[in-house]
């Protein structure tokens, strides 16, 4: 077994870390407080080449492996979850389905501009009544005279409402058979299409500087050629996209835990009580030891899942395990990190307060922890 990262992967980690420390850290608290999505930071992440990292160069990508991409998400999340959310959602959920299921024409039309950081793409799956049960989708599409007419709505859609959003991939119901079974189909909808709009959602507890939207389709008409994949393959396309997405949500959990741990470790070496640093109390040392151990386990599990994917081996079970474990330990580590900070950890002046809020999405978004356990349970009896 070789646990050594390649020289390129080490350089990617150091470069993304330097970028996040220099460009994101000074702004993160203010953007969070103002609930402000930053076009500027998004463009800068594009200039760094963080969008489309795993895409071949002909589509504007960098031709890197999954692990390199995951390291980049981890390093951004170590500093700020909102920017990591923009990055992870656009790469895995935005670019992913277009790249894996688009026709050559669709890929050439959209992917190059989605790799520069100028434009973002959204993933329209979740609906007000279709969360964990994605088959509860109500948004429907009817094909007539060479056009799809879409009506319905989506909710909690990352990168769906900012000026940078170029469009979305939308799961629709295109038929219901006599037994009530739905036929799901994915359709591409471009921003600016009549009857389509993305409305920003505010007052979030976490990821406050990322763009979260409700998408509305009001008899929205798009050409028949906007079909993504085949009619009836919609659910398969969306769920396989989520398999890949799990790796990047896991990377967000791992990065957040690492960032929270480092904040707590530093604070514990500076804060003095009873005449000595709180790190020198065994209780604090033990807590930090547990945090470090969880992070090490999480990283090994996630990197193994990436290794499986990069080596073209089945990875869905390990991806679900990584998403579950990394997001659960993100909660535990952030909680312990606040405890180590004591009263100061409850104040917005301290970064750990934001980490504590930001971790809470991770056990819910892109498949709750419960759904991950369901997926894992299915795989382990095969």
């Amino acid at each position: 077994m070789d646990f050594e990262l390649s020289e390129d992967q080490k350089l990617i980690r150091n470069s993304v870390r330097d970028f996040a420390e220099r460009e994101i850290r000074p702004l993160a608290a203010e953007l969070d407080e103002k609930q402000q999505f930053s076009e500027d930071l998004t463009r800068k992440m594009g200039e760094m080449g963080l969008f489309g990292m795993y895409l071949p160069e002909q589509y504007g990508g960098q031709g890197l492996d999954t692990l390199s991409y995951i390291i980049a998400v981890e390093e951004i999340a170590r500093i700020d979850s909102s920017q990591a959310a923009t990055l992870a959602a656009h790469n895995s959920l935005g670019i992913g389905p277009l790249y894996y299921y688009g026709t050559e024409e669709q890929k050439m039309k959209y992917l190059p501009q989605l790799c520069t950081g100028e434009k973002l793409w959204a993933f329209g799956l979740t609906e007000p009544d279709a969360g964990s049960d994605s088959r509860g989708t109500k948004t429907k599409a009817i094909l007539k005279d060479g056009e799809w007419t879409i009506s319905g709505s989506k909710i909690f859609i990352t990168n769906g409402a900012s000026k940078m959003s170029l469009g979305s991939t939308v799961q629709t119901v295109t038929a219901i058979d006599e037994k009530g079974r739905k036929e799901f189909t994915t359709i591409i909808v471009e921003n600016g299409t009549e009857g389509y709009k993305g409305v920003p959602m505010h007052n979030k507890m976490m990821w406050r500087a990322s763009d979260t939207a409700e998408l509305y389709f009001d008899d929205c008409k798009v050409p028949e050629a906007n079909l993504l994949g085949k009619v009836g393959d919609g659910s398969k396309i969306m769920l396989s996209t989520l398999d890949n997405g799990r790796l990047s949500i896991a990377a967000m959990g791992l990065g957040l835990a690492q960032g929270a741990f480092e904040l707590a470790l530093k604070y514990s070496q500076e804060r003095k009580q009873f005449g000595k640093t709180i790190y020198s109390f065994q209780n604090t040392g033990f807590k930090l030891a547990d945090m470090a151990t969880k992070i090490e386990l999480a990283r090994n599990l996630l990197y193994k899942a990436c290794w499986l994917k990069d080596n073209k081996k089945p990875f869905a079970k390990e991806a679900a395990m990584s998403k579950l474990y990394c997001s659960e330990i993100a909660k535990e580590v952030a909680d312990d990190a606040v405890q180590i900070h004591g009263g100061y950890g409850l104040m917005k002046d301290y970064e750990i307060e934001r980490f504590y809020r930001d971790q809470r999405l991770l056990q819910i978004g892109e498949g709750t922890s419960e759904i991950q356990r369901l997926v894992i349970a299915r795989y382990i009896v095969e």
């Binding site: 350089l11 150091n14 470069s15 330097d18 220099r22 760094m48 080449g49 960098q62 031709g63 890197l64």
Partner: protein
């Protein structure tokens, strides 16, 4: 415009310092190495000068194979090619001899070094290279522009700046200010760096002029005793009885 940037492979500024082999050799175990910061800034400015005009940038390191990751980083930042002189860097004259040997027939317009490498702080290599090549040496360069074949250079001097001009070719040792921040390699640069040439040349023979006898670490700082502002008596007592200063 042909620019040579000499970079050294040094321990990260936060690395723990220890020595082995009877305190003669720095202990590299578990130490992360970086491009020495002044050289990284000089390289950043060199890249900007090249992008504003045209030309090539070569980076050069005197070092063994373990220096290659930092050289790859320099290539990822945008240098066109790299040369490694395959020998352990010894004292300043040894390193300068190796650099001058590589540079002597290559017609570089500018040769950049850092004002010092941040490990041994010798602050001599740039000047020695200039002398060996018989070209001007400009130290402590904190800003540089190029017009035609002239370098317009700002040097930091005591209490202010000095503006000077110098015709190509010359050696400039960069310091803080030559570029505001080091360039961070983007993903595309990291991918391209793999395909760029990293040429290895063998060193020229040169007898060491100096030898390291030993290294010592500074004494650990002793703990600071804090005294309340109104407790002057205690301060006097400690100065008298413990510090024995009064």
């Amino acid at each position: 415009m042909k620019i040579l940037v000499c970079i050294s492979n040094v321990p990260d500024t936060t690395a723990k310092i220890s020595f082995v082999e009877d305190n003669k050799v720095y202990n590299k175990n578990n130490v992360q190495f970086i491009i020495s910061p002044y050289e990284e800034l000089a390289l950043t400015r060199a890249l900007e000068l090249k992008e504003a005009a045209s030309g090539t940038i070569t980076v050069l390191t005197v070092g063994l194979q373990d220096a290659e990751p930092t050289m790859r980083k320099a290539l990822a930042m945008g240098a066109d090619d790299a040369i490694r002189v395959n020998t352990e860097a010894k004292d300043a004259m040894f390193v300068a001899k190796q650099i001058a040997e590589v540079a002597k027939n290559k017609n570089y317009d500018i040769i950049f070094t850092g004002k010092e490498s941040i490990d041994y702080n010798g602050s001599q290599v740039g000047e020695m290279v200039a002398e060996l090549l018989d070209i001007p040496s400009i130290t402590s360069v904190s800003g540089i522009d190029v017009e035609g074949t002239t370098g317009k250079i700002q040097r930091e001097i005591d209490g202010g700046y000095e503006q000077i001009e110098c015709e190509f070719p010359f050696v400039g040792s960069g310091q803080k200010g030559i570029a505001p921040e080091p360039r961070i390699p983007a993903m595309r640069g990291i991918m391209m760096a793999r395909k760029k040439p990293l040429n290895i040349v063998e060193p020229v023979e040169f007898t060491d002029l100096t030898q390291v006898i030993t290294h010592t670490l500074p004494e650990a700082k002793s703990a600071c005793t804090m005294i309340e502002p109104d407790n002057v008596g205690e301060l006097v007592r400690l100065l008298h009885e413990e510090a024995k200063a009064i």
